[in-house]
């Protein structure tokens, strides 16, 4: 066995024993790269995810809803930060990670390339999109890489408020005027399929899955998690008195799970590849925010340097 093979074997043994890997431990280069890709995409998704929701902060229907939405969007910024920090422990700088987003080299969750057309979309996002995110993220709390797992614990604690605030919005609209109810139904119609797409391609098409499962970065397959989503959301939709836009959805007694229709994979791949309704707009907004924030970052640094000089010279005066 070569040295690298024996290191790899020891690494896999540790993983199999459910030990956590920490930043300075030896790890295969591919493990490091896979995590950098996944964690940075996850971080980008949190940050870009603020855009469609931020769109409704100034138009929230009342102060209670506005406070909830601001708090949620602020949480997403925090989640982005926990994740960027976790990513940096793998030896990539923050600037490099941000650069990959801004140049379009790195991806983020396709769901944020859909527009938020009405207030009901904010409800649907909290309920469906955050609901799907929770199903994806809860198993990541046991991911083999320590910093990622710890970030996920914090994220998951905060997500449950997001989902409840979304569902409450839907419930209020569903019990409101016929127009409000219709608005809620329209939001479900538009967000349901993209939410199911959040779990990624079918297991048979998923390129990174097998290795990620072996490394315990991933614990459940895309299709398993998607099934959980359908089983979780269907009864919640019934309580709203609304429907999911899938005529094939029905309970399968034998499987103890819901059957459901096929995702439009052409749409899935076209949004992934950059042709979704808002891909260009989201990236442009992100780049603009970063560039227009440059003077703030520069000013903060200049101020810190000035303070440092002042402190040093104050010290001298005292000594004299």
């Amino acid at each position: 066995m070569t040295e690298i093979q024996s290191l790899e074997k020891r690494f896999q043994d540790r993983i199999d024993a459910e030990e956590r890997i920490e930043p300075r431990d030896w790890m295969p280069e591919k493990y490091r790269k896979t995590l950098i890709r996944q964690i940075s995409q996850h971080a980008h998704s949190e940050v870009v995810g603020m855009l469609p929701e931020g769109n409704w902060i100034t138009r929230a229907p009342n102060l209670r809803r506005k406070l909830g939405l601001i708090a949620k969007v602020q949480d997403e910024a925090g989640h982005g930060l926990y994740l960027y920090s976790a990513c940096e422990t793998l030896g990539i700088s923050r600037d490099e990670v941000l650069d990959q987003l801004h140049t379009g080299k790195a991806k983020y969750s396709s769901i944020f390339n859909y527009p938020t057309l009405t207030w009901a979309d904010i409800g649907a996002i909290g309920w469906l999109v955050d609901g799907a995110a929770i199903l994806n993220q809860v198993p990541l709390c046991r991911c083999s890489y320590g910093p990622y797992a710890r970030a996920m614990v914090r994220v998951c604690k905060e997500e449950s408020f997001h989902q409840r605030q979304g569902y409450e919005i839907m419930l209020t609209l569903a019990n409101g005027t016929p127009e409000q109810k219709e608005m809620a139904q329209d939001a479900i119609n538009r967000w349901w399929w993209p939410s199911l797409m959040m779990f990624g391609p079918n297991d048979s098409e998923s390129t990174h899955s097998a290795q990620s499962m072996a490394w315990r970065i991933k614990r459940f397959s895309n299709d398993e998690l998607r099934q959980r989503m359908v089983d979780m959301i269907k009864p919640q939709t019934d309580i709203l008195g609304l429907t999911l836009p899938d005529p094939e959805i029905k309970w399968n007694e034998e499987r103890g799970a819901h059957d459901f229709g096929e995702i439009d994979w052409d749409e899935f791949w076209s949004v992934v590849k950059g042709d979704g309704p808002c891909n260009k707009e989201r990236l442009a907004a992100r780049v603009k925010a970063h560039e227009e924030g440059q003077w703030v970052r520069d000013a903060a640094l200049a101020y810190a340097e000035k303070q440092e000089v002042r402190k040093a010279s104050d010290g001298k005066t005292k000594v004299a």
Binding site: E88, S93, R94, L301
Partner: protein, 93 residues
């Protein structure tokens, strides 16, 4: 983030408990690190006190030498109370 150093953040969740590492963030200086740590890590009353330390000031043990580093404690069962034999009739100690 260019030239903004990385800070490690430690929180005391309530008085009586030690500060515990919760994560890291970039800031222009320590004061800004504390303000940002408040906004990022204590939005739900997770802390009553914050420590920030510039990451570069932390010296860590080398994980590759963990075995030799910590093996002096491996064979010293006599450091634990259960090593010592007491009579059964002794009810409390």
């Amino acid at each position: 983030m260019q030239n903004w150093p990385l800070f490690e953040i430690f929180l005391r969740s309530k008085n009586g408990l030690s500060h515990k590492h919760v994560g890291s963030l970039h800031a222009a200086d320590a004061d800004m690190a504390i303000t940002n740590a408040r906004d990022v890590y204590t939005r739900r009353k997770e802390g009553v006190s914050i420590w920030v330390v510039e990451s570069k000031h932390i010296t860590a043990s080398n994980p590759e030498e963990s075995e030799s580093m910590f093996d002096p404690a491996e064979d010293k069962v006599y450091r634990h109370p259960t090593f010592y034999v007491l009579p059964d009739e002794l009810e409390q100690m």
